[in-house]
């Protein structure tokens, strides 16, 4: 399934993550999944929220840079090798996985959020 993800640029200084989380709390926005990637220079906060556009507006108003983009969400089955076979399908198509992270409470199920070179195409491959 294709869903929308909100990404926020964070400088490497203390308190930035908390500031962004406070904004979301103030707007009463519930976080369904989250991943924080960081380099030695900066951080990237990736969020799945119910409605990313108002969240983006609130974050922008506070002076942060963010973007909304599409990612693949896959519901996981609790069986060995399931994820491996899905990833295998993407690899066979020649696409790369840019990043992935788990969404434990997404839609009441355990899911994996995946970003590839070509999100729409790879979503079709997985769902076929």
């Amino acid at each position: 399934m294709i869903i929308k993800q909100l990404s926020v640029f964070l400088e490497n200084r203390s308190g930035t993550l908390q500031e962004v989380l406070k904004i979301l709390k103030k707007e009463n926005i519930n976080i369904l999944a989250l991943s924080l990637a960081d380099t030695s220079e900066f951080g990237l906060l990736r969020l799945i929220v119910e409605d990313p556009l108002p969240a983006k507006e609130a974050i922008k108003a506070a002076g942060y840079t963010s973007s909304v983009n599409e990612v693949i969400s896959i519901e996981l089955k609790n069986e060995a090798g399931y994820l491996s076979s899905l990833i295998g399908k993407i690899s066979e198509s020649g696409d790369n996985i840019e990043y992935m992270y788990a969404a434990p409470y997404f839609d009441g199920k355990v899911s994996m959020i995946i970003k590839t070179d070509n999100v729409r195409k790879d979503n079709n491959i997985i769902e076929s």
């Binding site: 640029f9 400088e11 380099t39 990237l44 942060y64 840079t65 840019e98």
Partner: protein
Amino acid sequence: MIWNETKECMSRDEIAHLQGKRLHAQISKVYHNVEFYRKKMQALGLEPSDIQTIDDVVKLPFTTYADLRENYPYGLLAVPKEEIVRVHASSGTTGKPKLLCYTRKDIDIWSECVSRAMTMAGLTRNDVLQVGYGYGLFTGGLGAHYGAENLGAMVIPMSTGNTQKLIDMMIDCEVTAIACTPSYLLHVAEALESKGLVDKVKLKVAICGAEPWTEEMRKQIEARLNIKAFDIYGLTEIIGPGVACDCEAKKGLHIYEDHFYPEIIDPDSLEQLPAGKLGELCITTLTKEGMPLIRYRTRDLTSLEYDKCECGRTIARIQRFRGRSDDMLVIRGVNVFPSQIETALLTVSGTTPNYFITVDRVNNSDTFDVAIEVDEKFFSDEIRHLEKLRSKVENAIHQTVGLKAKVKLVEPNALPHSDGKTKHVEDRRKLTD
């Protein structure tokens, strides 16, 4: 020791008389040969006959680096091009460099001045000198080289970049003097100390320039290497290093007034200021043939003293530099104008023109950090993309400025926005006390 006692120890009256004669001749020449100067003088109703004594210099119009840029490459030539035997270049605010053209006589004058400076620092034909400045369009390497050869010293043209080899040859060839930037010399000192080789070198004198440095740095260099360090000043536009240099008395840099007429002006009113007053240094080249400069605004802030020095010289002394009247930075010996960063950013799509430069000196080497903002056009959810854009910006800055910067990505609200007067630079080096 004084290389040219006749010219370095004249009475003030003799100096003024010689300067007046040479200024008149220089102005007659540029009036007839350089359209740029003729038009500027005509606009002020001036003719060469109006310029008879050195005091008449205040009637003349100023020349700026913008004039050099606009007349690139040959617009300010005062001689036929075939008289030019060499060019040097210096970086400017935009992509185009400033090109400076030398006749054979200009090279001779320059060498003479560098020989005077080296003699002032105590060097003779018996010395072995390593030149640790870059050889090329930059004037440091060839300027020091020709001056030392003219002096009769043995020159080792090291150039920059290989400290190990420099140290090996310093020891093997019994080098007694070095010409390089002060920060590089401190780097050499560190390397010598870490190898326990300080006692193995025969170095006694260093002639340092091409970047601003403090009395504290001089003390460090002198103490750590057990040598005497001298400050040489010059700028490519005027001729290169060797416009002025300090003597044993350390009471300022003696400027070779028979070739370069110095004056201090108020950078706002442009009025000439008296001795001792702080202002912007302007230099008129009195003897240069290829590309004479009239009242060239160096943008360096300092003052001048004219009393006779303990060393016996009567020529004026440039006092400690107090910064710049423009926003130019000298980073690792390279001239950087903050606006060049904006120029570089324009070449990378996805960036905004906002930036902030932080310059510092860590372990005697300049750091050059540029913060740029990540706005929505620039932003990506993939780290790889952000890193790629960052290195694109680093390359663009390297191309434009000629110097590697460390680019840092910041949130847009963290930067001052480009509205002309905003501060874009923090220089933490404290080079002017």
